[in-house]
Symmetry: C2
Subunit: 151 residues, 2 copies
DNA sequence: TATTGTTATACTCTATAACTATA
DNA sequence: TATAGTTATAGAGTATAACAATA
């Protein structure tokens, strides 16, 4: 079932569920995810793959482990994500000079270009998702989530 | 990896990812989910199962299909959820009098009692999750999510 | 023909355990 | 011994397709 077919007025039957925070967070994520997936499709990227590119672009060149930590996924999960991005020519893996256990992961020029274009598309999806809110309310939402997620 | 091991200051490396709305929603949901799971464990319920109980308790007795729609899951997903709740003695299924294709699903007395206690535990988990926010900010967060999720 | 519940199946995301190569 | 990357595997959660019973 798509995440849009199931929504109803908060005063109807089941309002006890649909007003709970867990429900709201889950369905907000589902809806944003649908918009983002559609927006990124022309670039052949998933939202998770764009997140990997962004985590690699910010700061120092990173090992796979560091990239995984930045994103909040397991290092075993990062392997498959990087396999896909490497196959698309968007990232490269090289052994670290001083510690050959590590792979230094970097964006290729194509990866940087794709990341920039895909980020704009993703930003646009965010804007459309947040359209029901005033600019102030959208800013407060983001700030509140930052506070909750950042320890 | 747990969802708490990966968090860092928003100004550090990877800030481009960790300040995106999709990341914030995902990790907010993960953190609340952990708190909720722990809070519900003494009742032998998952968050999804409590959601099913709540969706059944609100309004008229529902068919499985209606329960699935209230919750926003597929009717095939609802089958397994109800199997588990029925095995625990928390819900019953009876053929609908006027339309025997349908199962009327209702909470047993044990189901109602468990639902009430588990809801209190879940509410407490929500309060702890929202503790970093002022009461006003928490209310605004909930209202904003309602607006985004309700069409 | 259409709908409800069900089953079988598959796909995504994720983590744990164990392997390897390096340190 | 410990760590980084990898592989195999398993477990949620989810949906699609097809079936039986019923409308």
């Amino acid at each position: 079932m798509s995440s849009r077919d199931d929504l109803r007025l908060a005063s109807g039957p089941g309002a006890e569920v649909t007003s709970r925070l867990g429900y709201l967070l889950k369905h907000a994520q589902l809806q944003l995810g649908e918009l983002t997936s559609a927006a990124l499709a022309p670039y052949g990227l998933s939202g998770r793959e764009l997140a990997v590119l962004l985590s690699l672009a910010g700061g120092e060149p990173a090992s796979q482990q560091e990239a995984a930590q930045r994103l909040g996924v397991d290092r075993t999960t990062m392997v498959a994500l990087l396999d896909a991005l490497e196959a698309k020519g968007l990232v490269t893996r090289h052994p670290h000079a001083g510690d050959r256990r590590r792979n230094v992961v970097e964006l290729t020029p194509a990866g940087q270009q794709t990341m920039r274009a895909a980020t704009e598309a993703s930003d646009d999806a965010e804007r459309r998702f947040l359209a029901p809110l005033t600019g102030q309310a959208a800013g407060q939402l983001r700030a509140a989530l930052q506070l909750l997620v950042t320890p």
